[in-house]
Symmetry: C2
Subunit: 333 residues, 2 copies
């Protein structure tokens, strides 16, 4: 009987190895059922025995459940009742990959073996599920540069250190949007009313892109987005961007037309048309970028959610503001 | 032996009841161990038997594990070896609340009883964990108006129907920001350079608020934010907003000073000061609003994540743009 200590002390965080504990009970394939029942009896004093792992030359060759022992002939050998060549996890497997392997198994405990099949220990299924839930709950934070380990109870100086760098990165990217607006200073000087619609365009494009992005991120997290589906998802989000842009563009154009008419700005109809065109174009592109950002981050070996919101917003700001002011400069006299 | 059919067909979604199946095996407290072992043997043909539930007058009075049966005297009655008054879930319990009750238990299967303690069925622990993981993975989507049931494979017309309403709501709120900018048309006409900094201010305030909001939402999801901690968390995020606003404000002010100097706009130093002041004020308020939005939504009985991003952005846009243009109107001649 071993105590519930980490079996692999130096394992990498967020891997199966970090959650592996020593196995409470192992037996040899030739052991008789009655002898194993005695072993379960004494092992049960200290630990919860769920399975008996059958080991030969340190290699895991089978697994026996309490139900198997209960229903077996007392003099039989374990070889006769064990499930041979059982499923096992390796310590290097990430928790996310382990969850995929576990999805149709749901054992309370999984054996952990090295590449040669030697038993290293066991990992409780609930520990994997908890770690997975913890990682899933961190995803919205990772999108805006909040570290996975930050909690509501983290002291503010540490939170500042963890979060501030991404805000400075965000600032640099916001300057890109500012530079785009700066390019059209002349247009803005002539038609000041355009300034009021900058947050409307940027906000709508950002939100449309963010909707596409969270659906993509969730597809990746739940392993529902194979590479073969990428083209289809890109087409879907482009179509959605087109229709969402058209419908919200018409609403926003109505707002622009009323605003321009009330303030006596000339070219109200053309300004409304610019709003529709800019909204359609920028929402269509935002949908595509929303799918692309997590996929590109993943392809680069990064976490697909990390700072994804910052990259997305930069793209949607630059495109939506550039398109809106560019079209206004072209079309409104 | 019953088949693995839903035990409570009309149960509400996202509750324990919806995941409850019939119990594979029940026994009476007076049943002898050897008779129960025979019952396990035949029940095991059709279903996976993990526990024997001991029932008296339909009420759940005990639970017996396979290990208990294995180690017991064959002639003993179940009363002698059962765990009496076992923990059970009720069908009305939400999956989220069930997860809290389960956190230190981790049984493979939980009994489900009505308020009177009558056994209705069992719910596998993995089913609760999966449902919880599914709900957690939907949170970023809910923040921007994406329905929990939308997947990457959802056809686009259905996605349009699900997502579009929130985009129209977002548009209405974006008009609030536009109206604020519109109030300062005269100021913008005099100092066109301010228009370029609108997306910078709005973007920074939005991101600072979003960081505070995701940490708050995660605290709620993982049940780490008791009511007594709210005042402390508000102070923390206000402090963070202050320092993040000051530091990014100084960076942005440097950008403004350079831009104003290069373009020959008068009052470069005062414009830079306006940027710092507006950034500090709006980031501080954004931090507080980021904590408040999910807490208010929860208090109102809504899901704390639903459309939270839209409410947050409206507040941060109005505050940051109003403060920036208001200070500019006041301080820059």
């Amino acid at each position: 009987v071993s105590s519930e200590e980490p079996a692999i002390p130096d394992a990498t965080e967020h891997t199966v190895g970090a959650l592996t504990v020593t196995a409470p009970l192992t037996a040899a394939p030739t052991d008789a059922v009655h002898a194993v029942i005695d072993a379960v009896r004494s092992a049960s004093q200290g630990r919860l025995v769920t399975y008996v792992y059958v080991v030969e030359d340190r290699r895991l060759v089978g697994v026996v459940t309490m139900r198997d022992l209960l229903l077996a002939d007392a003099s039989a050998a374990l070889t006769a009742i064990m499930l041979p060549d059982p499923f096992f996890l390796t310590p290097e497997t990430t928790v996310e990959d382990a969850m995929r392997a576990m999805v149709h198994r749901h054992y309370p405990v999984y054996p952990v073996c090295d590449a040669a099949g030697c038993l290293l220990g066991v990992v409780p299924g609930h520990a994997l599920f908890e770690e997975h839930a913890y990682e899933l709950s961190a995803q919205p934070g990772r999108m805006v540069g909040v570290d996975e380990d930050e909690q509501v109870s983290t002291p503010w100086p540490q939170s500042l250190k963890l979060r501030h760098p991404w805000l400075q990165v965000n600032l640099v990217t916001a300057f890109a949007a500012a530079a785009v607006v700066g390019l059209f200073e002349g247009t803005l000087e002539r038609i000041v009313i355009l300034a009021a619609f900058l947050p409307v365009l940027a906000g709508q494009a950002g939100n449309t892109g963010c909707q596409a992005m969270v659906v993509t991120l969730r597809g990746l997290a739940l392993d529902e987005l194979p590479r073969s589906a990428v083209a289809r998802v890109l087409r879907k989000e482009a179509t959605l961007g087109l229709f969402n842009g058209l419908l919200t563009g018409l609403s926003a154009a109505a707002g622009m037309w009323i605003y321009a008419t009330v303030t006596g700005t000339p070219g109200a109809a053309m300004l409304a048309a610019v709003v529709v065109l800019a909204m359609v174009g920028s929402c269509l592109l935002s949908g595509v970028v929303g799918v692309a950002v997590p996929l590109v981050l993943k392809r680069l070996g990064a976490d697909p959610a990390t700072a994804s919101s910052i990259f997305l917003t930069t793209a949607t700001d630059v495109v939506s503001l550039g398109l809106f002011l560019g079209l206004a400069a072209l079309l409104v006299a």
